[in-house]
């Protein structure tokens, strides 16, 4: 077997050194009745055979690379510069572990320090951690952190928050013993959260741009939260938006929980992605997750270490701020390399390009009979109302080789009032020809 270096001669020599007749005798602590012989699974395969089998499965899918695609709803197709994937596959990054031993992991620690700085900058917050699993779990962690900070236990969640994010908070609320109040889905982007805050509220959670695409300035909400002693949590599902849109920090957010997939990371059927988590300096000791800090070595030279680990499970055990251990190191690396290649000029241009493409898409769609663009404001994704259920339209478009967006009913299947709504996203990857093809096909299927 190509991954196993021991030869039979090695094994015999080693068993002799150990002083046992066979490997089986090393498993003597396993109870007799729990040992089993033949596994009912296929035998090993060479590289070529494995490639063939997995390629055959891949070939059955319609990838966004060979279809005009307008899918978003929390995962976005962007062009990732070639050097990103090349660099993250360097073995020294790919095959190293969490940087517990700083003298031999300065590479990982330095890029995580840069990553934390970049995240804090684009969110306009004081500090960021070294990543979470994804935007949705980061949001749930943000709510639990707000509960700790405020010593309260009621979260209020916007109807413009991604349904998956809402569902995960609901799961943690049930098991963690706190209350989560969910406002109904808000396709118009006009809900009022101000009157939902009282002196029991630990936090209000909004998303910007919202799940339905609307942009809102939450500065007044931030002030109301502060007055009531609650925290404002702003979730961002499309991180590229922060190249063009007023950042949560400038609105007065206390915690930002974001999905970083758009930079550096492939769609990959939903994961792995990278959760971004940023907050105010005063709350740093209540943060979940790993943090890298700057220090000096015994020669006085600048270096980096994992720090404030007394918050974490491997030190604090049942009193930890979170149980998170492994996070999204390599996805964070892809994120930070992509953002470094973009730089200030590239990042803002990328955001403008996304917005302009989406505006063109919206203009073209509003000329299609029966299609109504719901949004006044949006970044690169918006909602349209169709004259019939969106799922049937999307199915018909897929038959024509077009991935025409995400029906809201995919995420809200029970809410019949939302059945005709479709979410469409446009990024720098969408060409005029893509938009033409979509418009043409829509006219056929509506």
């Amino acid at each position: 077997m190509r991954y196993l270096p021991l030869t039979d001669a090695d094994r015999r020599t080693m068993l002799a050194k150990i002083g046992v007749p066979s490997v089986d005798s090393l498993f003597r602590d396993v109870p007799e009745r729990a040992r089993f012989g033949k596994i009912d699974l296929p035998d090993h395969l060479g590289e070529l055979e494995v490639e063939r089998a997995i390629s055959a499965m891949a070939a059955k899918n319609l990838g966004t690379g060979r279809a005009p695609s307008f899918l978003g709803a929390g995962a976005y197709r962007h062009h990732v510069p070639s050097s990103v994937d090349h660099l993250i596959q360097r073995g020294e990054f790919l095959t190293s572990y969490t940087p517990y031993q700083p003298e031999v992991t300065q590479g990982t620690l330095e890029y995580l320090f840069e990553f934390q700085t970049q995240v804090a900058l684009i969110a306009d917050m004081d500090v960021a951690n070294a990543s979470m699993y994804d935007g949705a779990t980061a949001t749930a962690e943000a709510v639990m952190m707000a509960n700790r900070v405020t010593r309260r236990s009621k979260a209020v969640l916007s109807g413009g928050l991604h349904p998956h994010y809402r569902e995960i908070v609901a799961t943690h609320a049930h098991f963690g013993g706190f209350t989560a109040e969910f406002l109904p889905p808000d396709p118009q982007g006009q809900e009022s959260l101000l009157d939902r805050i009282d002196n029991q509220t630990s936090c209000v959670v909004v998303q910007n741009p919202g799940f339905f695409g609307h942009l809102r300035d939450y500065a007044a909400l931030a002030q109301a939260c502060q007055k009531a002693g609650a925290l404002l949590i702003v979730a961002v599902a499309e991180i590229v938006s922060l190249g063009a849109v007023k950042p949560p920090g400038a609105m007065g957010a206390d915690i930002v929980a974001a999905e970083g997939q758009s930079l550096g990371n492939a769609l990959g059927f939903g994961g792995p992605y990278v959760g971004l988590f940023a907050t105010r300096e005063k709350y740093v000791r209540q943060m979940p997750g790993r943090l890298v800090g700057q220090t000096v070595d015994t020669d006085g030279r600048r270096g980096w270490v994992l720090t404030l680990s007394t918050r974490e499970q491997h030190i604090r055990r049942e009193k930890a701020t979170s149980n998170i251990c492994t996070n999204s190191g390599l996805c964070a690396l892809a994120f930070t390399i992509h953002l470094t290649i973009l730089g200030e000029a590239g990042f803002t241009r990328l955001a403008d390009l996304n917005h302009a493409t989406a505006v063109r898409l919206a203009e073209r769609l509003s000329s299609v009979k029966g299609v109504e663009v719901v949004n006044d404001t949006f970044f690169n994704e918006f909602t349209v109302r169709l004259p019939k259920p969106a799922t049937s339209v999307i199915d018909a478009l897929a038959d024509r080789g077009i991935l025409g967006g995400v029906p809201v009913s995919r995420l809200y299947p029970k809410e019949s009032a939302l059945a005709d709504l479709l979410l469409l996203a446009a990024t720098e990857t969408n060409t005029d020809a893509d938009i033409d093809a979509l418009v043409r096909a829509l006219k056929e299927v509506l």
């Binding site: 991954y3 059955k60 966004t64 999204s328």
Partner: protein, 510 residues
């Protein structure tokens, strides 16, 4: 130019050890590493919520970026560069075939919310992963969405609590956790609303059976056991423990962190486990990536299978289907909803399936055999110079205490730092907590005998050197690395968690 007082060179570099400033210190305003087209002129729909002012991101060109990250990579130790004996982390070879597979068009470019009929191959792959995991563990169901081991623990303990609540036994408040457990175990139980009740280890490094039985009662919800445990030992009373825990109506959570030692030889389902997470980034070789991403699927017994979180793949009339909502079960308390967005760590599923197919059932059994053989060979070759924590054969990792360092004024930490100068990543140190000054060494099955022999010679040399009284050497180590010991106390006392422009260069970054 002044010479650097530490290195004696003008550059501050030392041969191939190159100093690399932060990206923020390489900024030129306006410079970029991409050539994006001018956006078309459109009427803005941002609604007046534009970003104002500079963000502060640095501008670098592509060659600078490539060099920066290449240089950073060269400051890292990695499996690709050497034996990585971190106990309990299973740092085995990461096959590059797996990387190639995950990047295939039709997998890498799939959106998670495409119509199900356009992703049948992806669902087939998930179904295959589920089949392999269920077969290898002897369990009837698997929840695939958890994002890492600790997330899998949450999933399992939530399933346990949901099952108790569905039976009207929500009053159960205690989870038993051995003192040798990973920190994630007690943190998880607490996060799901349980009180953590620790069980001591016995003098053989296993769960103290009498202490365990004394803790049993009607308010116990479950027990979390890592097997093989964090001492690298198989819990030989495991089936008796499972029967006793089931006897009081509680469930058995198996922490699968150390599944690599028994894969293909022991099915946790046969031991009485009700649920167990599997770290795909350990046993099934998806890369650790400097701290993730991982994947932590959870296998479930028939009793807990109904409580698996969403989503899951089912066989429908038109091929595979994906169940993403289950409102009825949720409302009736028969399920607990969602733990992660979309469908889990698909990229890790692809890599794990490639690894499983490559090994096959026959090869996976050999994985366990060689992992255990390598660890025992290390143990046998080091036991006269170092002090094994417990007697008898170990499983996939060899645990030593610091008794061999008694009266030397050299600590486990000093040994670890001296190993770095020898070109090795240190073993896991000071864990498990039940062993004084623990040194936990896991070589994995992908090390050759030559590699082990070299490592053994170094460890024997270091042990003898420590005993010979050469303490100054150990206290100073490492001296050959890009950085020497770092001041972690200062880092925590006055945290600097991000770069900020210094007053002098501030205008360049603003």
């Amino acid at each position: 130019m002044q010479r650097d007082p530490v290195t004696g060179t003008f550059s501050g570099n030392r041969g191939l050890q190159i100093e690399e400033p932060l990206i923020f210190e390489q900024d030129a305003p306006g410079r970029t590493g991409v050539d994006l087209p001018e956006p078309p002129q459109v009427k803005s729909r941002l609604g007046g919520i534009e970003r104002k002012g500079a963000i502060g991101l640095p501008g670098l060109s592509e060659p600078q970026v490539v060099r920066h990250y290449t240089r950073l990579s060269q400051k890292n130790y990695a499996i690709d560069t050497g034996l990585y004996p971190l106990g309990s982390c299973t740092m085995k070879h990461n096959p590059r075939l797996n990387e190639k597979m995950v990047r295939l068009p039709g997998l890498a470019d799939l959106h998670p919310l495409q119509p199900v009929k356009t992703v049948q191959g992806a669902l087939e792959l998930i179904d295959q992963l589920a089949h392999w995991l269920k077969t290898l563990t002897g369990m009837p169901a698997v929840a695939l969405s958890p994002g890492a081991g600790a997330h899998g623990e949450l999933c399992g303990i939530m399933a346990i609590r949901a099952a108790h609540e569905a039976k009207g036994e929500g009053h159960r408040k205690r989870i038993l956790v051995p003192e040798s457990a990973h920190g994630t175990n007690p943190a998880t139980a607490a996060g799901v609303g349980y009180a953590v009740d620790p069980i001591p280890a016995n003098e053989r490094g296993r769960v103290d059976l009498a202490a365990f039985k004394a803790k049993l009662g009607a308010d116990v919800a479950g027990i979390m056991i890592t097997n093989p445990n964090t001492c690298g030992l198989f819990e030989n009373d495991i089936m008796e423990i499972a029967e006793a825990i089931h006897g009081v109506g509680a469930y058995f959570y198996g922490d699968g962190a150390n599944f690599n030692a028994i894969v293909g030889r022991v099915r946790p389902g046969d031991l009485g486990v009700d649920c167990m997470h599997i770290n795909l980034h350990k046993t099934f070789s998806t890369p650790h990536g400097g701290g993730g991403p991982g994947a932590g699927p959870v296998v479930l017994s028939a009793a807990l299978a109904p409580f698996a979180p969403l989503p899951y793949v089912v066989h429908g009339p038109n091929g595979f289907d994906l169940v993403e909502r289950n409102d009825h079960a949720l409302a009736s308390g028969q399920a607990f909803g969602r733990l992660k967005s979309f469908h889990g760590q698909m990229g890790m599923f692809v890599r794990a399936v490639a690894y499983m197919m490559s090994h096959g059932g026959d090869g996976l059994r050999q994985v366990a055999n060689d992992a255990v053989l390598n660890a025992n060979y290390l143990m046998a070759s080091l036991k006269d110079e170092m002090t094994p924590a417990f007697e008898g054969p170990c499983m996939h990792e060899a645990l030593f205490d610091d008794d061999f360092l008694k009266n030397t004024d050299v600590s486990t930490l000093d040994i670890a730092k001296a190993m770095i100068d020898e070109g090795y990543h240190p073993m896991t140190m000071y864990f498990p907590l039940v062993v004084h000054g623990a040194l936990l060494i896991e070589p994995t099955e992908t090390e050759s005998k030559d590699s082990l022999d070299q490592f053994i010679a170094v460890m024997r040399g270091l042990a003898r050197r420590a005993k010979s009284g050469d303490t100054a050497y150990f206290h100073a180590a490492p001296t050959l690395t890009p950085r020497r010991r770092l001041d972690e106390t200062a880092a925590a006392r006055k945290p600097v968690l991000r770069w900020k422009p210094s007053p002098i260069t501030g205008e360049a970054a603003e």
